[in-house]
């Protein structure tokens, strides 16, 4: 269950995620919020709103595949909770929460904090504290 601290990979990955946010703002004037961009594809919308979103999501799939194929992914096999119902429950919570709270780790935690948004700071502090509490209960209390 324990994973190794990989500071260099983490820092380089972080720089790439930041670069992604800057490229999307410079080119398209948009916040690189993964939940918002994905959710925007689930609603009926004009093509001007869906094409760039679809391109971004396809880009994520291409980027991930490139990194894995090039041997740049070194965090081992993906480890999920054993029960599929837990995975589904977590997914639903993440879907409801990011829609209701207008963002996730990228939109609030990276782009919002970089804009010094108080809403994003509040959201980031909230989801961090709750996630840490949930993991503590799951791993050390139950």
């Amino acid at each position: 269950m324990a994973t190794e601290f990989t500071p260099l990979a983490g820092l380089i990955g972080g720089l790439l995620i930041g670069l992604s946010a800057v490229v999307l703002m410079l080119g398209c004037g948009r916040i690189a919020g993964n939940s918002g961009i994905f959710a925007g594809l689930l609603a009926r919308a004009p093509r001007s709103e869906t094409t760039w979103r679809a391109a971004f999501i396809v880009g994520i799939l291409i980027g991930t595949t490139l990194a894995v194929e090039a041997g740049l992914y070194s965090a081992g096999p993906l480890l999920f909770p054993p029960a599929l119902v837990t995975v589904a429950g977590g997914g639903i919570l993440v879907g409801i929460g990011t829609q209701l709270g207008s963002g996730c780790t990228s939109g609030h935690g990276v782009c919002g904090l970089a804009r010094l948004s108080t809403r994003s700071l509040t959201a980031t502090a909230t989801f961090m504290v709750v996630a840490i509490a949930v993991v503590f209960v799951l791993r050390h209390v139950i």
């Binding site: 324990a2 994973t3 601290f5 500071p7 990979a9 983490g10 380089i12 790439l16 995620i17 930041g18 670069l19 800057v22 490229v23 999307l24 703002m25 080119g27 398209c28 004037g29 948009r30 916040i31 993964n34 959710a39 689930l42 391109a55 971004f56 880009g59 980027g63 991930t64 595949t65 490139l66 990194a67 992914y73 993906l78 480890l79 999920f80 909770p81 599929l84 995975v87 977590g90 997914g91 993440v94 879907g95 409801i96 990011t98 709270g101 207008s102 996730c104 780790t105 939109g107 609030h108 990276v110 782009c111 904090l113 970089a114 948004s117 809403r119 909230t126 709750v130 996630a131 503590f136």
Partner: protein, 148 residues
């Protein structure tokens, strides 16, 4: 060109999520588990991303408009309301339960693992339900601006 930039931004996001290891839920849970064998990697991912974005945004906002759009689409709301807090808390609960947030979940689809597919499908259902049931009535949020 706008689509090319969106695609490029997506590729960079995917590279970052994979290189940082964040697409593996174990890595994220290792960070969230402060009382266990703590893995601080996520701190450097967030720090690196935030520093890059902070500098890049400041340079970008010297322009009056983006390269390939009429204007910057930025959230304008500044009020801290209940949906923001409740939503962030529910998101945090799901994140802690599985170790996946939306970006890494999409990246994890490339593994073709059943769990990744189930998570993203459930996330999509949660988003659509919320949009139609909870946010069914027009609210100040529906300004045409993207959610963050």
């Amino acid at each position: 060109m706008r689509v090319i930039f969106a695609l490029l931004a997506g590729v960079l996001m995917g590279l970052g999520l994979a290189v940082s290891g964040m697409m593996n839920p174990a890595k994220v849970l290792g960070f969230l588990d402060l009382a266990g064998a703590w893995d601080p990697t996520l701190l450097l991912v967030m720090g690196g991303a935030l520093a890059t974005t902070w500098i890049g945004y400041r340079l970008t906002f010297r322009r009056t408009a983006p390269l390939f759009a009429a204007q910057f689409s930025l959230p304008t709301r500044q009020d801290i309301d209940a949906p923001l807090i409740v939503g962030a808390a529910l998101f945090g609960a799901g994140w802690g339960l599985v170790g996946l947030c939306p970006g890494p979940a999409i990246a994890a689809l490339t593994s073709l693992r059943t769990e990744a597919l189930v998570f993203v499908a459930a996330m999509a259902i949660g988003m659509v339900l919320t949009k139609h049931i909870v946010q069914g009535r027009p609210s100040p949020k529906d300004t045409g601006l993207p959610a963050e």
